[in-house]
């Protein structure tokens, strides 16, 4: 069976390589129509074959075929069927196959639904074929999922325990779906520069979908890190995390870029963004897989994969820039310079932020090459920079609330002033309870609140909602971002992190508010791990609010210790986060207790940002 799957992979590679050369020859010898037909047939076949490959890989995982190396390394007999399926794309090889499958199938869907009767169909499929061929070549030469294992393993190594999580099981498909859609944006960007202008295109839907999926994927990833790693944070400015933030930022800039009225500058901007979206997703993979950077998230690394990807990045940039000069000037004279300026400012902010993150992430590689010293860029760099960018973004958002044409100049000024004053007054009162002394933090909370107030203020003015669906999505997304900032700031200012030795039967106060008592330590031996579970009674201001059950596990097979975090929701949105340490038999253990105010709001706000674009997706109408 393994050999058969391998043959299919080779066959797909041959088909797709041929579709780069043959259509051009057919076009020259026979007719363009024949060439069109050929490339379409060939792409449809590729899509089907990719589906077959992926289905077979998943089948091998479900059936525990340990003669396949990927299966033996990432799955085990005791794993449940759900995690066996998830394991098939949690690994490097499987995830690339999934990516390739998404590229071909989404291309077909886009082709059928959006490109009916368009002249650019052939060119589009041609570029997608080039990308698909590159991926197949990459998969076959450096990361073949169907590689054989001699002799066949009796049992697999099992899936890393911390990967056995619902959020992380659906994280790869969502992320790679977004990355696959980036290829469509890339090809369409190039192709459209040859035809009419970029904007009238249905590519808008794809850009919105990319933003939705990217936000969900990054959100799920950090939700997983928060619950599973036991460090208590949700973002560590790790190279792997940064590399998922980079394509997200591009999708954010694109989302704003497509609302610009079309002219030469805006076409060129979106053109560049569209290309950088795909390139940054490739670079992200390059970063994760090459092992050039030290990450707290361990992944299988192999430098040859990295070099291959770097080479591809250069080719794809070159391919794109040939077309940059072909962008035509179409001025549509839509004039709302207020909105236009704001969007340009947004793109400027996002792009500069993109490069600051990229510099921080890539600089260590360059530094080592030049000076020979190994360095990392401290977390502080990102925090300081992000503060400034968040302030600028919040300020721009207050102005953006009144970007609709219905607001006159006076109304704009009135709305902006009222929102800021209201927020200021509210926070001055609220700070008696909050006690935030950091002035930058206070300023950010005031601005974030002003964003929320200004959005509602503007919404009250809007009479006809039918025509401003896009605006509704904007209001919602901006409110989501403001809530995100508020929860991050409050967490930064009001959280605590205490490590202590605790004895059975003894309790103590934490931060004067929480009384926590260790009731019991339970030691158990399971099939594949030993567990030590502590049982804490929690009282908040003298009232019982529940229990915490943090746990430590030691997995024999993998020789891994893991922390099972226990999270207790106190007063709805706040988290009490506990981990314990000490495997040895004793009547005490070490507790790490963290208080995370408004943690749930953070996840909700990310979800709001993601889902908001769904409101602006409309298929039928698109202005020409």
């Amino acid at each position: 069976m393994g050999e058969f799957a391998n043959l299919i992979l080779i066959f797909t590679l041959v088909i797709s390589s041929l579709s780069i050369i043959l259509p051009i020859i057919i076009g020259k010898i026979a007719s363009i129509t024949k060439a069109n037909q050929y490339i379409f047939d060939s792409f449809l076949l590729q899509t089907f074959l990719n589906f077959l490959s992926l289905a077979m890989l998943i089948y091998f995982f479900i059936e525990d075929d340990f003669s396949i190396k990927t299966v033996a390394l990432n799955s085990g007999i005791t794993l449940s069927t759900f995690y066996k399926v998830a394991a098939s794309w949690s690994n490097h090889q499987g995830s690339l196959l999934l990516w390739e499958f998404f590229i071909t199938s989404f291309t077909m869907i886009f082709f059928f639904t959006e490109l009916k009767g368009e002249k650019c169909r052939f060119d589009f499929l041609y570029y997608q074929s080039v990308i698909s061929t590159f991926f197949l070549l990459f998969i076959y030469t450096t990361s073949n999922p169907f590689e054989k294992l001699y002799p066949r393993a009796v049992n697999g190594q099992g899936l890393n325990p911390i990967l056995q999580d619902l959020a992380l099981s659906i994280h790869p498909p969502i992320l790679f779906a977004a990355y696959a859609l980036f290829t469509i944006i890339y090809s369409m960007t190039i192709v459209r520069s040859d035809y009419k202008s970029f904007f009238q295109y249905k590519i808008k839907i794809v850009i919105k979908l990319v933003f939705l999926l990217m936000t969900l994927a990054v959100g799920l990833g950090s939700w997983w890190a928060y619950r599973e790693l036991g460090w208590g944070g949700f973002w560590f400015w790790d190279p792997v995390e940064n590399s998922s933030l980079l394509p997200w930022l591009i999708s954010l800039a694109l989302l704003h870029g497509i609302t610009l009225p079309q002219n030469l500058q805006s076409s060129a901007t979106v053109f560049l963004l569209g290309i950088f979206g795909f390139i940054s997703s490739l670079v992200a993979t390059f970063l994760v897989r090459s092992g050039l950077l030290t990450s707290v998230h361990s992944f299988a690394t192999d430098t040859s994969k990295g070099i291959f990807l770097l080479f591809a990045v250069m080719i794809f940039i070159f391919l794109a820039f040939i077309h940059l000069l072909k962008i035509k000037n179409i001025d549509t004279h839509q004039n709302n310079s207020y909105a236009k300026s704001l969007i340009s400012i947004n793109i400027a902010i996002v792009v500069i932020y993109f490069f600051t993150i990229a510099i921080g992430t890539f600089f260590p590689i360059a530094y080592e090459l030049i000076y020979g010293y190994k360095i990392i860029i401290g977390e502080n760099y990102y925090n300081q920079i992000s503060k400034f960018f968040a302030l600028a973004t919040l300020l721009a958002m207050i102005f953006a609330s009144f970007s609709d044409k219905i607001f006159g100049n006076m109304q704009k000024i009135q709305g902006i002033v009222i929102s800021i004053v209201l927020a200021l007054v509210f926070i001055l009162f609220a700070n008696k309870f909050l006690n935030i002394s950091n002035q930058v933090a206070l300023l950010m909370i005031i601005l974030a609140l002003a964003v929320i107030i200004s959005q509602f203020y503007a919404m009250l003015e809007v009479k006809n909602w039918g025509t401003v669906k896009d605006k509704a999505a904007m209001y919602l997304a901006h409110i989501g971002f403001a809530l995100f900032v508020i929860s991050v700031i409050l967490q930064h200012e009001k959280s605590f992190d205490i490590e202590a030795k605790v004895q059975i039967g003894q309790g103590s106060y934490y931060n004067d508010e929480f009384y926590i008592e260790l009731e019991d330590i339970v030691r158990e031996k399971n099939d594949n791990y030993m567990s030590v579970r502590a049982n804490f009674k929690v009282l908040q201001n003298g009232h019982s609010v529940g229990s915490l059950y943090p746990e430590m596990r030691f997995y024999f097979n993998q020789d891994v210790k893991t922390n099972e975090v226990s999270i207790l929701k106190v007063s709805y949105l706040n988290d009490l986060y506990a981990t314990v340490e000490r495997l040895e038999e004793s009547d005490y253990l070490y507790l790490r207790l963290q208080y995370k105010p408004l943690m749930s709001l953070l996840w909700i706000s990310v979800f709001i940002m993601a889902i908001s674009v769904a409101f602006s997706i409309k298929r039928k109408k698109y202005e020409s």
Binding site: V296, I375, I385, A500
Partner: protein, 142 residues
């Protein structure tokens, strides 16, 4: 027409200001936040006092001492030179004798006070920085 030029000037001024302030902040913050990675051997050559550093190496066999609750002392070695490290807090999951670790902190009176012991969430995983160094000194073991 005049108002259009005026609004353009305002727009480009704002844009320029954002770019300029952004650039200034980036450069300033960047210089402050470069953290060097060194092995015990390299500490001989250059003196890094009061500066936040990352020291990488193996935990020397039998060197871990539990001074009191959550107060540890141990030795990081690259099999050439050694550095004494103290750490207050819960040691990460993977921490044990002979394990590759990275300690972030600063020197005080010749002792490295670690504020963070880097935890990798895979016990077989060795940071690439460390791997290179160990390969160089010939102590890399699979």
């Amino acid at each position: 027409m005049k108002s259009r030029i005026k609004s353009r000037i305002i727009f480009y001024t704002i844009l320029f200001l954002i770019v300029f302030i952004g650039y200034f902040l980036v450069i300033k913050s960047f210089e402050e936040n470069i953290i060097y990675f060194v092995t015990p051997k390299e500490l001989e050559k250059k003196i890094y006092s009061d500066k936040i550093l990352r020291v990488g190496g193996y935990v020397k066999q039998g060197s871990v001492k539990n001074l009191q609750d959550l107060e540890y002392e141990f030795v990081i070695t690259d099999n050439v030179k050694e550095v004494k490290v103290t750490y207050h807090g819960i040691l990460p999951n993977l921490f044990r004798d002979g394990q590759g670790v990275i300690a972030k902190g600063a020197f005080q009176n010749g002792i490295f006070i670690a504020e963070e012991i880097l935890a990798k969430h895979d016990e077989k995983y060795i940071p690439s920085e460390l791997k290179d160094e160990l390969k160089k000194s010939g102590y890399w073991r699979k």
